[in-house]
Amino acid sequence: MRILRGVEIPIAICISYTILSMVNVIIDLLRGRASGSHYNSIAMLLLCTIAVLVLSIHHLFDEWSPVVMIIIQYVIAMGLVLLLVFISSFFTEVSEGGYKDIIISFTVPYMIGAFIYYSSVFRSAKRQDRLIQEINSGREK
């Protein structure tokens, strides 16, 4: 195994934890020992997959304003999440207010992420502006 560095270490931990947890869940399901927490684990994996897939298509919106990009990605992701809940309702009972809960659970972290992205854009513009001013004043000297 090659030496892992920096951000590769938490990524490797996340991947191995996910594989172990999912193997455990699948074994329990095959043994007929399925419980609510098993279905929750599968649902969380699917939610994370949707989020990662939707966020990974950001380059398709490069020519668009980031606000439009965030809204489009949110609509796609939210649609897929609601579809997931709808499909899961054929296999397990969706609690009363389940749809509302999933909208809130998905929207809140998404909004926090969007805010972090928004402030990173502003910080980046400020940094670039400072560099331009330094270059301009350096040339005037």
Binding site: H58, H59, D62, E63, S65, P66, V67, V68, I70, Y117, Y118, V121, F122, S124, A125, K126, R127, Q128, D129, L131, I132, Q133, E134, I135, N136, G138, R139
Partner: protein, 150 residues
């Protein structure tokens, strides 16, 4: 037609003498090469071929596969592609900021975030160009590189 007079010189004694009767584009081109080794760039405006000084160019724009150079007051069509210009002019302050624009960073007055989360480069002639997300990192790295070299 020029008379070429080439002689081998000792190291440190290299020189170029130019004798001309009229400042033609060809003479300008020779001077430009001798002075700063900048790539030679011609622009077409109203059927006239003009030697462009890259220092005077604010940005390049590609429209329908045609490339245009924008100076403070004029626009010239150039025969080179944006990718080729990007490669040739990188050492002279030009960097790609979106799919169709190559900007001269020495002509940027300021960088401003927009309310719609886009980042704009405001040029010294008041024009505004968008810096796309895909080019943001390379743009900032290039600015860092230039600042260090000043």
């Amino acid at each position: 037609m020029f008379v070429l007079n080439l002689r081998k010189a000792k190291e440190g004694e290299e020189k170029i003498d130019i004798y001309y009767s009229k400042m033609t584009p060809a003479v300008k081109q020779i001077i430009s090469i001798a002075q700063n080794e900048r790539p030679v760039l011609y622009g077409m405006a109203e059927e006239e071929k003009i030697l462009l000084e890259t220092e005077d160019i604010y940005y390049f724009d590609t429209v329908d596969r045609r490339t245009f150079a924008y100076t403070e007051e004029s626009t010239y069509q150039v025969a080179k592609t944006l990718s080729l210009l990007e490669e040739e002019l990188k050492p002279f302050g030009f960097i790609r900021i979106n799919k169709s624009n190559l900007v001269n960073i020495y002509k940027i007055k300021r960088i401003k975030p927009e309310p719609n989360m886009r980042i704009s480069a405001i040029l010294k002639n008041g024009e505004r160009l968008q810096i796309n997300r895909g080019y943001k990192r390379a743009f900032e790295d290039y600015l860092q590189e230039i600042r260090k070299s000043i």
